[in-house]
Amino acid sequence: MSDLISQNLNMIFKSPKGEIIHALKDLNFIIKKGELLTVLGPSGCGKTTLLNIAAGFIRPTSGNITLGNNEINGPGVDRGMVFQQGALFEWLTVAENVDFGLRMKKEDSTSTKKKVDEWLEIVGLKGFGNTPTYQLSGGMQQRVALARCLINDPELILMDEPLGALDALTREKMQSLVLKIWKETGKTIILITHSVEEALLLGERLYVMAPRPGRIHKEYHLPFAEMGLKVDLREIKKNKEFSSKREEILSMIWNMEEEIMGKDN
């Protein structure tokens, strides 16, 4: 029973000008173990705030969020995080980055080494262990970030636009990798993205969030992630259902954006 349960989650910021910003309002959701949830929404709708709360980097103004009956009130090893830019430690090599968490826990070095090799193979970086991270390409850096997060065996993986900075080709490969890892490890994953296609492709469940105040606007249950495990991702994109869903969500977000613009002007 290690579900992520959020009850009446509220997050209120005060901007430097003194304006009160309602980043999240009355968020209620349950994410079951092993689910892959994608979160989509226009900028400023509180996606990253939600993720940071789940990771424990910030605390909600009111309401509570629990992971398997434990209230989240600080960062922990049970929740791994993958960032947009990788956030790798560039003074360390690939292997040193990957085993960072294990070294911090002072685990046995031989078993650590074995694990590192295993994970490097899973993410497709076999033989890159001694490469300095600053020499890696963007896609490889994200692979290292994934491995670094997964080697700690977290219950919940939080991904903050992990593929946002990659080129289209690498992105597609990485999407398959995420699906593969999800399937093989059975981890709960929350993935934030600003790409509608990616959200549809990867999300078993999809939340479209709306801004001001940040809230869940619509929820979808999608079959594409399951399909993606068997079929090539490009095939799914040709699917009619996929296209109609994409158009639907795009116009929804477009309307939201227009609403904001209208408010601003």
Binding site: Q84, E90, W91
Partner: protein, 641 residues
Amino acid sequence: MFTQIITILIFVSIVGCILYGRRLIKKEKIDAVFGNPERAKGGTHWIIVGSSAILLIWLYYSWDIAKGFYPKSANELCQVAKINESLLGLKYQFPIEEREFKSTSVIKIENNNLRKITLEINNSKDLNTQQKSNLINFVNKTSRLIPLLTKDELMEISTKIKLKEMTDELKLLSSNFKKKDYPFETAVEKSERQKAILEEGGWGITTVKSGTGSIENTMEVPLVPATNRGLKFDAAAQELKIISDKFFKLKNHNPQFKNSIKELKDEIKLYRDNLNETEEVASTYAKNILKIARRIEFASIYPPNALNEMQNAIVEFDNLQKDEQGGLRLIDILLFPAGTIVASGPSCSEQGSGRWLPKPSDTFNKFILMSKPSVGYKNIPLLWIDMMDVSKIIGFILPDWIADILPGEYPVHNKDGFVKQNFKGHVLKIVTGDFKLFKIPVPYGHIWDSFMRVFLGLVFGILIGVPLGLFMGLNRFAKGFFDPLIELYRPVPPLAWAPLIISVLGIDNTGKVFLLFMVSLSIMIISARAGASGTQLSKIHAAHSLGASKKQILRYVIFPNSLPEILTGIRVAVGMCWGTLVAAEFLAGTTGIGFVENVAKKYFQYEVIWITIFIMGMLGLLFDVTLRKIIDKTIPWRGKG
């Protein structure tokens, strides 16, 4: 010899490289397009031309080429300078290099002064008629003094005879000067002179008295004439000096002039004595008139044609000595640019670029001497190695109180006058370094001292500044608490602290190391703080969710992340420390490169000054290159993350 070879080599290399470069330009295709950046690439031959040109200019303007090719030229020019010095006073009296006789100009000036004072007296409102007439009377009497000196018929026979004598002496000198064996030196005189030459040494020689550890005695230009030509000039200069002295002693004062001036002086004195306090203006005018009369008395005023013969004799001799100089004049013009050798009183010296621009050969020579442990500078060499017993180091490191806290008492001498050692005594010997072990080489000297000061100041600054800076970058309390303190002392130029710190902590190492510690501390704190507070939040978040503790995040994330800033800070601090150290050593001290330069400045040892400048430049460069290497090795990820 060495200078000659180098000069020739430089000439050859410059010409060769220019020719090679020209040929290359004609062949290379990239040179066809003006503005092609490829044109600026490479070209060792042009570098050789550039550095050779600098060397050549150095050699030329320091007169080292003159010294290399004509080592005796300075000595000969010194003798010529002696003649010029003796002639200068005489020439000044005649229209040789001046427009008119000195007598003429004095008469012109004083007549003018008298006219001015007459006008002033006549127009003055502070003087009554009586006073005016008295003063005008004095003025007239003064102006009547001049004709008494310039009238040919009033000139005394004895004065005429003396002038004739001097003229004859000059003529005799001229005729002797032409002769080859002038000044008719005897064998004894010659051997004495040779001995003096040997004792004196050559041009720019540095004499070192053994064991004094001093190179302060530099013979700038040897004084004793070493060549026959030089000897001639030297002897003539001495004779000229006598004639010149005689001429200046001679005064054209005939009895009538003597009476008139005595009368005038007495009258003015009497007049001024009888004036009361209210007539101060009249008294001042009378005093000024008397001053003019005195000036006329002491100027050598002669009748218009009385000095003609003497003038001719001087001109004749001057032309003669110029002819006699011959090739020396050419050397003076060509090889002694921007100055020459000048004689003044008992010594000759280089005046011009050769003075402050030391000759490469001399500089090299002095550098070797300063590096030698037997000579050094102020008894200390620039950099040398001393054998030091390891026990001294152990004694320095171990604190003495280790022996004090041991139980028991230190040994006391017994009635036989012996001291029997006990355990506590032995321990004391060890902790104070009073025992013998093997010896290891330890560097010492001025360069080492300066280096160690910078090094220690820097190390202390890093050891305290980096943790404090990291702490300040992470902690609100630390930032708030230490910030005012640092911001108060940091903007003060480090040298402004120097007088205070040196007077409190002493002129030796402690004060300087502390000063440099202050300099490096603020830089290190600021750079470490910037590094710590500049850590990307996502990296810290990542470390947190990977399960790192606060300590581990500091050690494994924040510290390595701030390394680029810290290392850049060290590089800046080294430069600042180096600059401050030299200035601090200027202020006070007994060793160090800055100290050497400061002492050299006091004695006008230009070679030493240039050597210290060169050493400082080289050491600064060495520091920077080393640090750059270290930075490239330690933080290869910089700018790539």
